[in-house]
Structure formats: structure tokens, C-alpha cells
């Protein structure tokens, strides 16, 4: 924990402990080659072991922002800093990220084990040495018995679990999830939401979760970043102070509905302005 802390001294000489962000986005813009402004002036600090949601209507650039965090997309202006990561000689940060896409995006020709092993294989790790690691990731998502199954033989929810295991197998500091449950039914989605919270607690990583569901974001996150479209921008932030573990009780509490109302009001405000 200590390396995550940044000791600073305030003007009156008192030492305060401040957490150092995992990623810092400053004034980031993204303009596509056709001139569309996808993101405008994004400022966001992401802290270690945080659960943070990006919430907004479609077209608000939340997925674009997530891709920029992952390194899959480049930004057009502003700066991004990884204060806790190593940088290579060309000045690129060594991002330790995992990405869970909207679809499970598994290789249909490979077993569950090989699918989860893929990120390690691409990093030139040997299968023999990594077997335990892969099995751990599978156990983390509750799929221990399915290493030899093929994706076709699994249900939608189980495929998504494999996809999450694949993202976790490199033990990333930042797990990016791009509307991972959008294609699943309500019941499976609720179940997987609980599982994601559980995985987050055990994997001790930061989760950044993109969603357009107010209820999902309030249930899951410590912090909700609300975004609006045209141009994609952040219009506000909301802290959800309810303690973890959260369960059905929380879903039915008045506190929960109050939070949902607050987020909803924030979105309405953005739509009107």
C-alpha cells in the first residue's frame, strides 16, 4: 500500500497522506478523422482499487474514453499520465489493463482454458508455467470445471465469465468493462453484477465500468462519472457512499433509490441544457 501513497506537506507544515492516482486524464479531446468530436476536455483521475462507472446515453463517448484508457484508441489532445506505471524507452506507459468487451469475443476454436491463456501466450509465457494462473482465474469467475469446454457449449453468462477470466489472468491493475452485460438477460445480469463486485474485492484491482443503466451503476460503483453527448463530456460526478458488500437489501433500500434519483436528475439536467 505504501507505494500508492504520496506524502505531501501542506502550508502549515502538517503532513497529509494523499493517494496517487493510477491514471490521470487531463483535458483529453478525441476528434475522429471525419470531424466528429467524440470527447471534449475530459478530466478524470482514477485511483487504485476504485470501482468507478462511466454513465451516459449512447454517443456520449464513454466507450471511446474506455478505449483510450486501454490504449486501443489514441487521443487527439490533452495528456494522460500513469503515475504508478513503468514507461518504456519510447515513452509508452506499461499499462496493466484488462478489457472486457460488450460481447464475450472468445475464440470459438479454442477451449475455455486456451481462451483464458491467450493474453499470457501473446506475452510469450509458457503454458506449463502458467497453468496454475489460468486455473486461478477460472476459479475466480466460478468456472473451475469448464477448462476443457468449448465456448459454443456455454451459456451467454458463462461466456462472459470466461471473458472476465481472460481479462484477469494478467493480474491487471485496471479492469476496463465496456457494457459487459448489455447482451444478457436481467436475471443473469443481476447475478453477474454480484460476481463482479466479488471479483473486484478479491482481485484488488480498479474497475472502470461503462454502462447506460442508472441502476447498475449505482449498485456497483463507489463513484459515478456522468457523461453527456454532443460533444462527449463529463457533466458531473457522484459518490455512492454505501458500504460493501452490497446485496439485495441495498437494491431495495431507500438510500439506493435516492441515489438513482440523484443520478437521473443529473442526466436530465444535461439533456435539457
Amino acid at each position: 500500500m505504501l507505494q500508492n501513497l504520496d506524502r505531501a506537506t501542506t502550508s502549515d507544515g502538517e503532513q497529509v497522506v494523499r493517494r496517487k492516482p493510477l491514471v490521470r486524464m487531463q483535458n483529453v479531446d478525441k476528434i475522429y478523422s471525419n470531424g466528429t468530436v467524440a470527447l471534449k476536455n475530459l478530466n478524470l483521475d482514477v485511483y487504485p482499487q476504485e470501482f468507478i462507472s462511466l454513465l451516459g446515453p449512447s454517443g456520449c463517448g464513454k466507450s471511446t474514453a474506455l478505449r483510450i484508457f486501454s490504449g486501443l484508441g489514441a487521443y487527439s489532445g490533452g495528456s494522460m499520465d500513469w503515475p504508478q506505471s513503468m514507461y518504456d524507452v519510447s515513452g509508452k506507459p506499461e499499462r496493466e489493463v484488462g478489457f472486457v468487451f460488450q460481447e464475450a469475443t472468445l475464440m470459438p476454436w479454442a477451449t475455455v482454458f486456451d481462451n483464458v491463456f491467450l493474453p499470457l501466450r501473446l506475452k510469450d509465457k509458457s503454458k506449463a508455467q502458467m497453468t496454475e494462473r489460468v486455473n486461478e482465474a477460472l476459479a475466480l469467475v466460478g468456472l473451475s470445471g469448464f477448462a476443457k469446454a468449448y465456448p459454443r457449449e456455454l451459456s451467454g453468462g458463462m461466456k462472459m465469465r470466461v471473458s472476465i477470466a481472460r481479462a484477469l489472468v494478467t493480474q491487471p491493475k485496471l479492469l476496463l468493462m465496456d457494457e459487459p452485460f448489455a447482451a444478457l438477460d436481467e436475471i443473469t445480469r443481476t447475478r453477474l453484477s454480484n460476481d463482479v463486485l466479488d471479483i473486484w474485492a478479491r482481485a484488488k484491482c480498479t474497475v472502470m465500468f461503462v454502462t447506460h443503466s442508472i441502476f447498475e451503476s449505482v449498485y456497483l460503483s463507489q463513484r459515478i462519472v456522468v457523461m453527456a453527448a454532443r460533444p462527449g463530456r463529463i457533466i458531473g460526478e457522484l459518490k455512492i457512499d454505501a458500504p460493501y458488500p452490497r446485496d439485495k437489501e441495498f437494491r431495495l433500500s431507500s438510500e439506493y433509490s435516492a441515489y438513482c434519483r440523484a443520478v437521473s436528475d443529473m442526466l436530465d439536467l444535461a439533456m435539457r441544457s
Partner: protein, 295 residues
Amino acid sequence: MTMNPAVNSTMNSTLPEETAEATTGPALESSRWSLSQILDRSSPLIAGIIFLLAWEWLIKFYNVSKFVLPPPSLIISTLISERADLLTGLQYTAAVTISAFVAAVVSGIFFGVLLTQNRRIENTFWPYAVMMQVTPVVAIAPLVIIWVGLDRVWLAMLLLAWMVAFFPMLSNTAIGMKSADHGLRNVFELYGASRWKRFRYLQLPSALPFILAGARISSGLSVIGAVVAEFVAGSGGSRGLAFMIVESGTMLNIPRMFAALVMLSAFGLSIWYVTSAVQTLLLRRWHESELKQEN
């Protein structure tokens, strides 16, 4: 495959329903043979036997000359009496066909992969590949025979059969290489996959169903290519089945012509079945085309 997960995580409560949801795929196929299954498998054979019996009977009934259309019984007896010649012919044609097919598969995959590595290479050479495809091989055959075939007939035939069989392999490989799922490409990019790894673990497996479909088309075409080549090469040294057909035709030995034709069809059919079996073997665990769906 054990479908009984010994889950030791906290997700115990979540799994049983999902397990029930998951289909066990191939495990469901039992070895029990129902009547309808037996009928399914034997129906082509039954239809064939009825067809042959009708043929035999019609020829007797209308008293058709064997120089026009011989009855199946005569064709079968010719098959037996001429078996030495026919088998030599089959050997010759099969050698040309199989070599041409293997050459087409290897070169088709090689150039298909090469072509898709770079857009400029693709734009430059694609029209010529198409040109090769659309030019009828019969039209080029005499030229090829003159160039390489005067003292190496076998090579000329190989070349001609290859020219017919090559294109489906090329185009299918090229399409397959480009058909990799976009989401998976992102996954590979995210983990900084090298070009080789992207090829080996993403593009090649994605292309496999396309390549195998191409191989099935090519296998049939290489038989056609070999036959056309023998027709054109004529008596210049060919001893294959197709030449036997031409030869028997000129000698009005129609039963022998049919016997050679039967051999040729049987050979084509077996090549088709072999390629189909390879396809099933390679795709049965994961590809839609080989999976059975129970409703």
C-alpha cells in the same frame, strides 16, 4: 469433459441453473441408431439400386443397342474384364489429380496469406488471379502442352489440373484471412500481439473453415482439370481414365467408355468424402457448419 463443476468459489449459488443451460454438445449424440437414421444413411444407395434396375429393364424393354446405351450389367462385367487397364488408368489419373490438388492447396494457402499481408500486393495481383480463373483451361491447354508437354506430358497435365484447382483455394484463403472477428482483433491488439502470433492464433484458425470449403471445391475441380488435360494431350503419352474414354469412344466400345466413367466418378466421390471427413474432423468441436442443433 466433466460438466460437473466442483466450484470452490463464492459463486456456488449462481451456477446450477447455468450448468443446466449449457448444452453438452457432441456428448449428446448417442450411438443409438433409429430406423429413420438407418433410412437417412442408406437412402442414396436404395435410390441408386432402383435407378440401375429401371435402366436395365428399360433397355431390355425397348431393345436399345449397346452401342448407344449399354445396360448396367454389361458395364459391370466390362469393369471386371477390363480391370487391369482400368486400374492402370485410374492410377495415372489419380496421380495427376492428387498431385494437382495438393499443389493447389499448398500454393493457394501460401499466396492467399501473402496476398492479404498488404493491400497494395493484393490490388496488384488480384486481377491476374481472376484472369487465370476466367480463362477457360481448355483454351490454354494446347499451349501448355506445346511448352512443357512434348516430352513431359505428365508435368503439362499437372500444370493444367493445378490451374483449375488453384483459384478456389486462393480466394477462400484470402477471404478467410480477412474474416477474423473484430472484437478478437482488438483483444490481440490490446496485448500487443506480434504479426506472427496474430497470424498463427487468430487469422489462420478464423480462415480454416473457408480454407476447408475451398479445398472441397478444389478437390472436385482438380479431377475436372486432370480429365480436360488428358483430353487435350490425347495420345501423346496419356494412359489415364479420360484418355480411355476418348479412345473407347473412337473405337465405339461404349461399355468400356462407361466403365471408365464409373471409375472416374467413384474416384471423384472418394476424394470428396475424404475432404469432407477432414473438414468434419477439424471443425466438429466449434464451427456452426458441423454442429447439430436440437430444438
